[in-house]
């Protein structure tokens, strides 16, 4: 069997193509971006005409995927963990409407916050929505789960969540592909009221969802992804979820793990299997990547029953990504560490690229802030969030996509003057426009700077939904044309930028300055591409 070396994220993309999707919907976000990029670049996907354009945000992506499912075709929607917060309304309700064409929701969590503002665990969302959740332990399993996931979705009539984490998404391994499936034909729902969640209909649909829970539990109980591995030493039973299974095995390369092990990769929880391991063993160790979902559930409130260890009692760290070493320590196996990191080794945090236009914006803004006082710059998610670090330290907030505009408005409502917003072009179209509308409707005195590098830069330069439309969007929302300005953030324009910001600060209302210069990485990539085309 020929193996292909694929990132976990790429394996998911390949499986979606082979699984017969007609569309993938997503907004870029680490560590999920490569799924959609893989499908966009795939020759077969292009020939088939699989829809793979970026959506404006995760909510629009989710709804577009649900629409495709409505029309009888298979779809995948992918996002990073915090993206599911944005899509949550559609997500939770899609479990109640149910689906038609198979719908797989791939959510990539980022424990240790390698590139995120939190490390929330999407399995909670899956449980909350009461849908099947699949959690692969390796790249091949990720492929198989997605490939078969569309059928699971159609069989249960529910969206199916695939929960992966950074480590799996961004790690390569050999993956064996399966026979590609055909796409489905477009069709109209047999029940034209299926997707109507008016209270009278929704109550019935909700009862139907509740009624499916027994079937879902049965499926998990019999799933080949959930495995019970016998062990002679019953002093301990180990429950591993997803990738944690590998970290356990890494500690038993030379000899077999002596304890019974339950590997869980399909939810809802396989209750019978859990009862079996609890019944057989004196104590339990729960190893899960993310929050202690299982551990909390199994931990006995009055501490009269079986002892359950894990992230809550300190056997494993409460925060951050697991490693084989953490698991080894929890099992009493110490890593054979010979060397320490020498003290002279300095941290090397990420920083804005040399020559990036954001640097020029921050230099100008810092000059204004020096006069009016610190603590007034509301910013957002993107490369420009690096303006929080030295040498700039310009921005004071970075909370969630689009929050810069709305938090600035709230602060202005509270009486703070002046207030500034720094938001990227793509973050603005993701979730900034509605906030700007709020500010315009009340004519609040905020100074919005859209740092427009004409791309989604942090995630690798995807097409920004804002491209070419920022001015018309702002005017359409109702920004006064007199107070919509454009500037090129370059060192030679420093004085122009400073006076422009000062001038707009003096205007009692919403002003928008678009600081537009293409991302230098994007420009470099395009030059390289042109060169490569010329050469070939």
């Amino acid at each position: 069997m020929r193996k292909e070396l694929l990132l976990g994220a790429e394996a998911v993309g390949q499986a979606a193509i082979d699984g017969g999707i007609s569309g993938v919907y997503a907004y870029p976000g680490t560590p999920s971006t490569e799924i959609t990029e893989y499908i966009q670049a795939n020759k077969v996907a292009k020939e088939k005409g699989i829809n793979s354009f970026w959506s404006s945000n995760e909510k629009t992506a989710y709804e577009e995927a649900l629409g495709m499912s409505y029309a009888g075709k298979r779809a995948m929607v992918c996002m990073k963990h915090v993206g599911l917060n944005v899509a949550a309304d559609a997500f939770v309700n899609s479990a109640i409407t149910g689906i038609r064409g198979g719908l797989v929701v791939t959510v990539a969590d980022d424990p240790s916050m390698h590139s995120s503002q939190n490390e929330q665990d999407s399995r909670f969302y899956g449980k909350f929505a009461m849908i099947p959740v699949l959690e692969p332990s390796n790249q091949q399993e990720a492929y198989d789960m997605v490939y078969d996931g569309f059928e699971l979705s159609e069989k249960t009539g529910l969206p199916v969540m695939l929960r992966i984490t950074t480590r799996l998404a961004h790690s390569r391994a050999g993956v064996v592909k399966k026979e590609p499936k055909k796409e489905d034909e477009v069709s109209i729902p047999e029940n034209l009221k299926q997707f109507l969640l008016l209270p009278a209909f929704a109550r019935k649909s909700y009862v139907k969802l509740l009624g499916k829970q027994g079937q879902l539990a049965e499926l998990a109980e019999n799933s080949s992804y959930n495995q019970y591995i016998e062990g002679d030493d019953k002093s301990l039973g180990i429950i591993c979820c997803g990738i944690a299974f590998n970290y356990l095995n890494e500690n038993y390369i030379e000899k077999k793990c002596p304890y019974p092990v339950l590997k869980i990769s399909q939810y809802p929880l396989p209750e019978k299997m859990i009862r079996k391991i609890e019944g057989e063993c004196d104590e339990l160790l729960v190893i899960e990547e993310g929050y202690p979902l299982l551990e909390e559930l199994l931990k006995d409130f009055f501490l009269k029953g079986t002892k359950v260890s894990g992230r809550l009692d300190g056997a494993l760290p409460r925060a951050g990504e697991l490693t084989p070493d953490h698991v080894g320590v929890a099992l009493g196996l110490r890593p054979p560490v010979e060397y320490k990191i020498p003290e002279i080794v300095a941290n090397r945090p990420p920083s804005l690229c040399q020559g990036c236009g954001h640097q020029d914006v921050y230099q100008a803004l810092n000059e204004v802030v020096a006069d009016v006082g610190e603590g007034r710059v509301f910013s957002d998610i993107g490369c420009y969030a690096l303006g929080a670090l030295p040498p700039y330290e310009t921005i004071n907030t970075c909370v969630d996509m689009g929050a810069s505009v709305t938090m600035a408005k709230g602060a202005a409502d509270a009486g703070l003057f002046p207030v500034f917003t720094v938001i990227g072009d793509s973050t603005f179209t993701h979730s900034g426009i509605t906030g700007l509308l709020d500010a315009v409707n009340e004519n609040v005195n905020i100074n919005v700077i859209i740092v427009d590098n004409e791309t989604v830069a942090m995630t690798g330069g995807q097409e920004s939904s804002a491209l070419g439309n920022l001015e018309s969007i702002c005017l359409g929302v109702g920004v006064d044309p007199e107070h919509l300005k454009v500037v090129v953030p370059l060192r030679k324009n420093h004085n122009q930028m400073v006076s422009m910001i000062r001038e707009e600060m003096g205007y009692d209302g919403v002003s928008v300055i678009i600081a537009r210069r293409p991302c230098i990485q994007k420009v470099a990539r395009e030059k390289k591409k042109i060169k490569a085309q010329k050469e070939s």
Binding site: R2, K3, E4, L5, L7, T30, P31, T33, E34, H114, S115, R167, L168, H170, S171, R172, A173, G174, I243, N246, Y247, N249, E250, N251, I253, T323, P324, D325, G328, P335, P336, V337, E338, Y339, K340, I341, P342, I344, V345, A346, N347, R348, P349, P350, S351, L352, C353, C383, L386, P390, M458, T459, G460, E535, S536
Partner: protein, 194 residues
């Protein structure tokens, strides 16, 4: 057989080209491979690391356990030290000597090389210079791979095939100069050890 390799550098230095060459070399040789990469925010000039694991048996973890790495390959000297806890007692550290200074508190280079020289098994080389010498200044990472090859239980023929596969789209000239860079790094390390 197993090779647990830590690849280290700074975002933008292209450490993944080393992993790609080894990956292309080993995948269809009946070997197993896992390779964890750094994507996202750190790629903007931050410290980046890749865990590359090759074995003739199925590999469990995507991450190398502490104290188990057979080799650290670093394209930047300070970064080579950051991952020392991963190095096994008998492991080798192979590092580029050329400093990448993009932080204000970068330590004195004498101190960095002082720490490197405390190790029993190490090779330090100027990969940029060696790459220029073979006429392809962009091939410094293949020099690094070459300098590491004596410590990896995979034959140079197979690695060279991997290099050829990675660069084949760019034409014979590029393939050959990268293979030359690989050989030059290998020669350097062989002489260095004698």
């Amino acid at each position: 057989m197993k090779a647990d390799i830590i690849l280290a550098g700074v975002g933008g230095q292209g450490i993944l080209s080393i992993a790609a060459a080894l990956g292309a070399a080993t995948l269809n040789e009946g070997l197993y491979l896992k390779q964890a990469e750094t994507h996202g925010m750190s790629q903007r000039g931050g410290a980046v690391v890749s865990h590359l694991r090759i074995a003739d048996y199925p590999i469990a973890s995507d991450l190398i356990p502490l104290g188990k790495a057979d080799i650290i390959i670093s394209v930047e000297p300070m970064e080579s030290l950051r991952y020392l806890p991963y190095l096994s007692e008998t492991g080798f550290l192979v590092t580029n000597e050329v400093i990448f200074e993009n932080i204000p508190n970068y330590p004195l280079s004498e101190k960095i090389f002082g720490e490197i020289k405390k190790l029993t098994n190490f090779v330090a080389l100027n990969a940029e210079q060696l790459a220029r010498d073979v006429g392809n200044p962009k091939a410094s990472n293949m020099v690094m791979l070459g300098a590491s090859s004596p410590f990896i239980e995979i034959s140079s023929e197979i690695i060279e095939k991997g290099i050829a596969k990675v660069f084949e789209r760019k034409g014979n000239l590029v393939v050959n100069s990268n293979i030359e860079a690989f050989r030059s790094g290998k020669d350097y390390a062989t002489k260095y050890l004698k």
